[in-house]
């Protein structure tokens, strides 16, 4: 027995030290999940987006300051009729397997998205010939023309000032590897797990649910990444991210829970960074419901809700949201002043709109409100889907509205049901208002707006709200070629929406980043750019 104990002790002492001191040639990024696919067209999770950003290239891209710059394209010009965009490509771009990138790859990438069997995310309906290819009446998209190996021209059906923003979203795919794969099988092709790209890093090994190992691609056209190896470490339990960082098992995490964040700020050797989060919470009103058809009632809701306490329960770090866009983009209207938390004004507005509590039961009743019998209590259902981001704020709304005499029943459903009953329902009598959120950078900035306004244009437009000016401005935005004029249109839309409250924007919790103090990061304003900047990261002394 004694021998066994002795042996065990010796064995324990020889256990390798656990903290693998990070060498200067590797950076380990912590994230709770692995990508669903590395094929850009079929990868749908935010996770995949943050990984793919360093594997592929686009013709043009936005730099960390938000300016459009060339990536695969060295330059571009637009024809006088504003329809044809001609891109000159770099001639030194190599795929991760060594093949050169040419205009054929560009044409291929734009063409598959118009194939009848294509189920990826589609951004390019307005290229000349795309519709014909989709319905089978043409074999190719005539609007994408190879002029020579390193020049390609894209023609749109109507002048569109946002073409470059859309093009900046389109990762170019390797035609030489994919041309023989039937379009319906692309999603399950090898490209999804062993991608060939042109980005600064290439995939060395995908260890399922464990890590993705990348190495800097030495022939990258933008200059090789500074840190030669980058590891995407999958650690689903965010409560252990703190431990991972302080034990040096990883170098950076954007998922340290808000509760742990003040603790990690005081850890030696760890630096932190906070920036407005990529996701926000919002309430959408069914403006055709008699309860919420009056703008004063919706404004009353905006005054009644205590958004600061929503931030407090979310960890204490965040900001109030006034519109659909991320504050780091130039289209965001920063002049809008958020509705303050003011129950008295909310009550006054409700009185004005005809909601009074005459029977003294604490709940207001309707008096001469169109569509409601006099005396109908203000008792409504708030739908939301099971997601901790939305469930606690929904309870705060319930309490806040009770304070101003509105009775709210919170109905938490599965996302599937929420989608069917709230987001896409046209005739759900129980839909009075719904609580959910919106992720920026999932789609181009314009789609953040056009996906929600004007009414009926997208799956989130179920507020059934209609405003003549907005309905006229939003479709016009892509036709305004002057940037400041176009931004003015964006600003006006946001201001009208804020005034009319079809959506009540709530809060945007900060993205909290904790990282090794020796790691030098460039100036970052949002999560997407943090990942985009990985090739520029470096190890200090």
């Amino acid at each position: 027995m004694k021998q066994i104990v002795a042996l065990l002790l010796v064995f324990l002492l020889t256990l390798p030290l656990t903290s693998t001191a990070q060498e200067n040639d590797t950076v380990v990024v912590l994230w709770p999940s692995q990508p669903d696919s590395l094929f850009p067209d079929f990868a749908v999770t935010a996770t995949a987006g943050y990984v793919i950003i360093n594997l592929y290239s686009t013709l043009v891209t936005t730099d960390l300051q938000g300016n459009l710059v060339g990536d695969l394209a060295t330059g571009w010009e637009v024809s006088e009729d504003q329809l044809t965009w001609t891109f000159s490509l770099r001639d030194d771009v190599v795929w991760h397997d060594g093949a050169p990138l040419t205009a054929a790859d560009v044409k291929f990438s734009y063409e598959i998205a118009s194939d009848a069997a294509y189920t990826g995310s589609s951004y390019f309906a307005d290229i000349v010939g795309a519709a014909e290819k989709r319905d089978g009446s043409a074999d190719e998209v005539t609007g994408v023309q190879i002029i020579d190996d390193y020049t390609v021209a894209i023609t749109t059906t109507a002048p569109n000032a946002l073409v470059l923003d859309t093009i900046a979203q389109r990762y170019i795919l390797p035609a030489h590897a994919l041309a023989d794969v039937p379009v319906a099988d692309l999603a399950s092709s090898a490209q999804a797990t062993a991608p060939i790209g042109t980005g600064p890093y290439r995939l060395v090994e995908w260890r399922v649910d464990e890590a993705l190992i990348f190495e800097a691609f030495p022939e990258y056209h933008g200059g090789s990444a500074i840190i030669p190896n980058y590891i995407w470490k999958v650690v689903p339990e965010v409560a252990t991210h703190y431990t991972e960082l302080v034990t040096d098992a990883a170098d950076i995490s954007t998922s340290v829970p808000a509760d742990d964040f003040s603790g990690i700020q005081s850890e030696p050797g760890i630096s932190t960074l906070q920036m407005p989060g990529v996701n926000m919470t919002l309430v959408m009103f069914n403006t055709s419901s008699p309860f919420f058809s009056d703008v004063r009632t919706r404004q009353a809701m905006a005054f009644a809700v205590d958004r600061e306490s929503m931030i407090a329960i979310g960890g204490g770090s965040g900001g109030l949201v006034t519109n659909q866009l991320h504050p780091s983009v130039p289209e965001h209207n920063a002049d809008i002043v958020p509705y303050p938390y003011d129950s008295a004004r909310a009550a006054a507005l409700l009185e004005e709109a005809g909601w009074r509590d005459e029977n003294g039961d604490g709940i207001r009743e309707s008096y001469s409100i169109e569509g409601l019998e006099d005396g109908t209590p203000f008792s409504v259902e708030l739908g939301t889907w099971s997601n901790p981001l939305y469930n606690l704020p929904a309870q705060i709304i319930q309490q806040n509205l009770k304070d101003v005499g509105v009775e709210v029943a919170v109905n938490v459903v599965d996302f599937n049901v929420y989608f069917a009953e709230y987001l896409t329902a046209t005739n759900n009598p129980n839909f009075q208002f719904g609580m959910s959120g919106w992720f920026n950078f999932s789609v181009p900035t314009y789609a953040d707006i056009s996906g929600n306004f004007p009414t009926g244009s997208g799956s989130h437009a179920r507020t059934l709200w209609s405003n003549v000016r907005v309905d006229e401005l939003v479709p016009a935005i892509p036709t305004i070629f002057d940037t400041s004029e176009r931004n003015a249109a964006y600003y006006e839309v946001q201001a009208i929406v804020h005034e009319e409250v079809p959506f009540l924007y709530l809060t945007r919790l900060d993205n909290l980043v904790a990282f090794d103090s020796n790691l030098a990061l460039p100036e970052i304003t949002n999560l997407r750019n943090l990942f985009k900047s990985i090739p520029q990261w470096s190890w200090g002394s």
Binding site: L15, P16, T18, S19, T20, T26, V28, S33, D36, S37, F42, V44, T45, A46, A117, Y118, T119, G120, S121, S122, Y123, A184, A187, S188, A192, R207, V208, D209, E210, A211, I231, K233, V234, V235, P236, E237, A239, T240, Y242, T243, E244, T247, A249, D414, F415, N416, V417, F419, A420, L423, S436, W438, F439, S442, V443, A447, G451, G458, S459, H460
Partner: protein, 317 residues
Amino acid sequence: MQRYLIRRLLQMIPVFIGITFITFMMISLAPGDPVVSLYPPEVLDRIDLELLRDQLGLNDPLPVQYVRMIGRFFTGELESFQERRPAMELIFDRLPSTLLLTTLAVIVALLIGLPVAIFSALKPYSWFDNVATVSVLTGLSLPQFWFALLLILIFSEQLRILPSSGIRPIDAQTYEPVEMIPYLVMPTIVLAIGLLPSIMRYSRSNMIEVLSQDYVRTAYSKGLTRRTVLIRHALPNAILPVVTLIGVIFPLLLGGAAIVETIFAIPGIGRLAVRAAQVRDLPVMLSLNIFTAVMILLSTMLTDLLYTYLDPRIRLS
């Protein structure tokens, strides 16, 4: 014996149909649209959902879908809705980690549980037995996620002797057992603690029962040493029910220890199951259920066979 095996294997067919049918119907009849769960709400507008539904075969009548899925399962072509890779491939990718963790946990639980149970049984209600019983109850009442985080706090964050996540060093090229041991210590303990109570209580009560049997008294009266009586005569009979227990627990664990795998970032089947359920990935859920069911059926069959070896009185017919 052969006839017995064939009969058992044939019995698996109706069980298989029942399991697949129930799984399929439960998921298919749930309200909402399965393709909607696959995408974040923001990008739904940009996907041709109708075409996708068509490509995934979701527009066909349910019986057609069911038969096709089962057919594809057998040809290995049943693909995950989300990852578009064969579902069994996703499972087999993660099987080694789960198998390793589960086997270790069962072994550790047996190594601790059996000796403690025997000592407890020899002197029931002694201080040793009482301490063991209380410890076991404590272990049973510990929520796994809490206990796991507590271990991480102590051994990873404070003492810094064990790594908190993963199954091997992040820069390891292969699976070196020596390198993996520190990573497996805590997950194994957490899983084993969950298994200990049943193993110990079963063995203890059986041992007490066996020790009062006539043949044990006979063995003592023949002048055999206590040790010989215990190990040669009493133990084999006492652990029979434990064999059954392991035969049922083991395959269940293979279906994934979701909580332990999640907290310690072990790339196992449990995490796959959780994710598949979140996005309603029907082919993966179906394959996982079939996999677990087959494991349980096989394992109970093996247990029965093992019985004939451990207890010659039992004959299979």
